[in-house]
Symmetry: C2
Subunit: 196 residues, 2 copies
DNA sequence: CATAAAAACAAGCAAGCGCTTGGTTGTCAA
DNA sequence: TTGACAACCAAGCGCTTGCTTGTTTTTATG
């Protein structure tokens, strides 16, 4: 998300700075083990000052997850824009998701997977609605397209979940500085779930 | 793990009872959000009494993860025992892992995936060593066997990680009471990672 | 330069946390 | 019956937590 988009979403530069630091800490130690004093210190302010920007600690997490979700949605839409072949769309989306996890978003995508339990139900629903409205829409369109051409091994919804799991787990083993490139990894995944 | 095996591992019935309740709570709220008072109340004792059985809160988590890892290892070994065809071994292991997640272990397998960060490094290494010694050994044997016959789509190590991710994620969407059976789900996974 | 709003500080409260202590109860072998 | 030990209770200590309050500093605007 660029600066103007952030402003439109009601996120001041100060908020964005705090969230960025918070995300690193959440990734490192988890939401619960990260104290507001940790976040404040990382941002260079005192802990009480955080509550001038956020009404409570959880709102920091919500803001982070909402921002990440928006960003991933925008990038997914950009990735499939202008591609009509659903197989190519799928490939683009796989690379896009891997990039979000291992490159663009730093640790934000990790937090998005790990910290659902720390969000209250209302916030959780808001983030999920955000995700379904753009990111998941792209995925299901591509997968349905592949399925209509008989190229998908599993039903689209099952394929989506299996792929999502395989991709999310890469954060536990894949290293960008190893022998396997991101594109290579994306190929392995694509080949697994599409018919030859 | 049966009662005798538990005793051999130094786990009294009281400990096992506490761990079982703790696992449910860890699954529900996470390790950090679960207090020793919660665990004690669920077991029907006072919080201080927990420390007669465990030297601290983290040891409860470690015991849970070690028990689960041992149990999954035993079941994996039993699942492939007597099977020589590596493809059949792989199928058996996939069903085995799905069963651990969705059936036998209640919520223990969830905790095993989610709460690594709450474990200190020494305990983490112990659990990992336990896992590599039996559970992962079974998996790699089966996958290497498939690969030697040219049946695997990806290199064995990559396949293992992709499969693990796909399976672990099922806990976020798969329901045992839905239309898709565990065996059916296992077939979907098998078909994805093996050549036709 | 004056003024108001935004941002940060300084200090600390109330609640909840993991864990300790010292004593009581229950169990069972000798 | 007695002694020994494990299991548990009752009480609370010391510390950390998220958050509040009242004040001061910084920044932006006319």
């Amino acid at each position: 998300m660029n600066k103007q988009a952030l402003r439109d979403a009601g996120i001041s530069p100060a908020k964005a700075r705090i969230v960025a630091k918070a995300v690193d800490l959440f990734h490192e130690k988890g939401f619960e083990r990260t104290t507001v004093r940790d976040i404040a210190a990382a941002t260079g302010i005192l802990s009480g000052s955080l509550f001038h920007h956020f009404k409570n600690k959880q709102e920091i997490l919500y803001t982070a997850m909402a921002m990440t979700t928006r960003g991933m949605g925008e990038r997914a839409e950009a990735a499939v824009a202008g591609i009509s072949n659903p197989v190519e769309q799928l490939k683009a989306l796989i690379i896009c998701e891997l990039s979000s996890i291992h490159r663009e978003d730093g640790h934000a995508a990790y937090v998005l997977v790990d910290e659902w339990r720390s969000l209250d139900e209302a916030s959780r629903d808001k983030v999920l609605a955000l995700r379904d409205g753009s990111y998941e829409k792209c995925w299901m369109a591509a997968l349905d397209g592949c399925d209509e051409q008989g190229l998908l091994k599993s039903p689209p919804k099952i394929a989506r979940q299996l792929i999502r799991g395989a991709l999310a787990w890469t954060r536990n083993w894949y290293r960008t500085d190893g022998d396997l490139t991101l594109a290579g990894l994306a190929d392995e995944v694509t080949n697994s779930f599409l018919k030859p």
